[in-house]
């Protein structure tokens, strides 16, 4: 899913393949001289999720809704901050500790907008985008439970 508005190209992809952060940043910034700040967030599979040892994580998503939900939040981010580009890539499938899961890239003239928009998007990806993690450990497999801290993180962005 790609779109463009107000000089802010948007790319949203859900894929099994890994991503290349340098390539994604190059796509966002090439031939442009109005971008002063690029923030990237990459989320990786860890071996230790809340004290249990993880052998692998499997990511499931709701095709169609996942892309649309991310798009809604990217649009919301673009309405809040003066952004010059946004890329969101969420991988699905089975991952080993150390592997990439998610990438959020934001570009802006100034760093504060890029930082805040990236954090906003990650907080909403965690709590609102239809993805679910199942973890495999020595004691079996189970679905990861949602964290109250993620709801609290997303609630920071609610406009009163």
């Amino acid at each position: 899913m790609t779109s463009s508005a107000a000089n802010c190209p948007v790319a949203i992809r859900i894929q099994e393949d890994d991503f290349d952060i340098a390539r994604e940043i190059a796509v966002l910034t090439r031939s442009r001289t109005d971008i002063g700040a690029v923030v990237s967030f990459s989320g990786l599979c860890r071996a230790d999720e809340d004290s249990s040892k993880i052998a692998a994580l499997t990511l499931e998503h709701y095709p169609g809704m996942a892309e649309e939900e991310i798009k809604r939040h990217v649009d919301e981010a673009m309405s809040r901050w003066p952004l010059n580009g946004v890329t969101v890539i969420h991988r699905v499938g089975r991952f080993r500790p150390g592997q990439n899961i998610v990438l959020v890239l934001t570009a802006s003239q100034h760093r504060r907008a890029a930082f805040e928009a990236a954090e906003f998007l990650m907080d909403y990806l965690k709590t609102s985008a239809p993805f679910w993690k199942k973890e495999e450990s020595a004691t079996g497999t189970g679905w990861v439970e949602a964290h109250a801290r993620d709801d609290e993180a997303a609630a920071r962005w609610t406009r009163s």
């Binding site: 809704m65 649309e68 939900e69 899961i101 609102s128 679910w132 679905w143 990861v144 439970e145 949602a146």
Partner: protein, 83 residues
């Protein structure tokens, strides 16, 4: 209408999607969950704690009191854990 299930809701019900025809008295998301729960043990298990089930109608998050009239696709799933 089409119904989809994800994560452990899907696993408990034992299918990813199905077509259903609830009676006309079922008007809201919570009424649909109650009606599905009455189908058999698998649905009852999936919806045993209806308050933690999240629902989307036509790809948008909705609350339990949302009307299901006109919905093409309703999805039930646990709280999201992506990112």
């Amino acid at each position: 209408m089409k119904v989809k299930y994800f994560a452990w809701v899907r696993e408990r019900i034992g299918k990813a999607e199905e077509m259903i025809e609830p009676p006309a008295t079922v008007r809201t998301v919570e009424e649909l969950i109650a009606w599905l729960s009455g189908q058999n043990e698998a649905y009852a298990y999936a919806f045993e704690k209806p308050k933690i089930i999240r629902t989307a109608i036509d790809h948008a998050h909705v609350k339990a009191d949302a009307t299901i009239a006109g919905a093409r696709e309703i999805a039930f799933f646990p709280p999201m854990t992506g990112g």
